[in-house]
Symmetry: C2
Subunit: 247 residues, 2 copies
């Protein structure tokens, strides 16, 4: 019997993971004008080299940031969860330096870039929340450089499985003990800098170690702590502990 939740509700809640917001802050965000669109899996939210004019906010479904080499190899740079803003990364840049595509079907609320820029100029707690969000994403990029650059395949895979578990858990979309992986093994490979074949073997190897269990793409982690160790995963870089409100 409850009314449909506001599409930006989750967006606000994502902010509140890291920054306290007052009731009026919340209202101001929910008052942002937006256009809601349903996008199919694979469709572009942002295209490299385009001038960003809107900031998409993922309302439901998953998306990924992606770049291609000249040879055509794809690297997935980050996975975006429902509630996350897609184009904060380009908020002050003239040209997109990477693309964002839908990983699954989902809804995106497009907010005018100027409106978000105005919020940041507005000097309120909201701009602080936006900037924190941007910086946390940058931190995740850094961890991915480390993951892709220095960890062996098994650990690399375990690491992103842990990251997704913790991030999904933080927004209430999954629990530590398991979730529905929103991507194919090929996409996973592009996120890990590996080939699909090797990802398949690495998954099987984690499975043989009883570190994960599977039903289709649904994953279970019967021994979370051991998985975390294998993945060399420490959630510090996700900056999930809220700032003291004095900050």
């Amino acid at each position: 019997m409850s009314a449909d939740p506001h599409p930006l509700e989750l967006f606000v809640r994502t902010f509140e993971l890291r920054t306290p917001l007052s009731g009026s802050d919340r209202q101001q965000i929910l008052a942002l004008p937006y256009t809601l669109r349903t996008l199919e899996s694979g469709s572009y939210v942002v295209r490299e080299a385009d001038a960003p004019r809107y900031c998409g906010v993922l309302v439901s479904g998953f998306a990924y940031r992606q770049k291609l080499t000249g040879e055509g190899a794809r690297q997935i740079i980050a996975i975006n969860l429902p509630g996350e803003a897609i184009d904060l990364q380009h908020l002050f840049l003239r040209e997109a330096d990477h693309s964002v595509q839908m990983l699954t079907r989902g809804e995106v609320a497009f907010v005018a870039r100027e409106d978000l820029q105005a919020l940041v100029r507005g000097s309120s707690a909201i701009s602080h929340a936006l900037l924190v969000q941007m910086q946390v994403e940058a931190s995740i990029f850094r961890e991915w450089v480390l993951n892709v650059g220095r960890r062996p395949a098994k650990s690399r895979l375990a690491h992103v499985l842990c990251e997704l578990a913790v991030r999904l858990d933080a927004v209430g979309l999954a629990a530590h003990y398991g979730y529905q992986l929103p991507m194919t093994q090929e996409e996973l490979a592009d996120a890990l800098g590996l080939t699909p074949v090797h990802v398949n073997r690495t998954i099987k190897s984690l499975e043989a170690d009883k570190l994960i269990a599977r039903d289709r793409r649904r994953l279970f982690f019967p021994e979370w702590k051991r998985l975390r160790d294998v993945g060399d995963f420490n959630a510090r870089y996700l900056h999930l502990n809220p700032l003291p409100s004095s900050e």
Copy 2:
């Protein structure tokens, strides 16, 4: 006969690469209180897990961002050039998620975190410039994920050599045709996600191809365009074209 330049002079010029600043903006930045310190190669500017209290600005010398795996393997995430701010990435975060160390001996101007936060709150062109700087760095992180994740060793090495050339050129510290590489092959290896031995062989291979020439650590690029092709390098992600002033 000219007076010593203001230590933050280069910092301002770095901003102006991407954002126009008025004379008064410039004055406001140069008026920031700071403490200047000379740091030896290898010394820490920021330590992972610390609460950042200052924002270091690199006045001279080079620094690098770095993270370690649990196994102790190091990945260098980015190189910082003179004029760049070190802790913008942590400006709104409670805890550092990576470390920054000096690559060479150099001077760092430490500015109080609160003072910089105040600038951002101040809603002026300056805060815009700071945010652009942060976002450009995030863009460089993304390119590094691609570089480390998807390019073969030769291309990977050529790519960072190109990046350094263009960035050094942009602040007037080098030209496309060559510069003094501020790091050892071991450090280069940690930036590329390779081993020092393989980096050495890859350097020799670029040299054999006449794509680079060397005298100690001084590098020359006799065929810049070909190097750029081999490195699959497109400067878009550096966002060096200034924004139209209306933005």
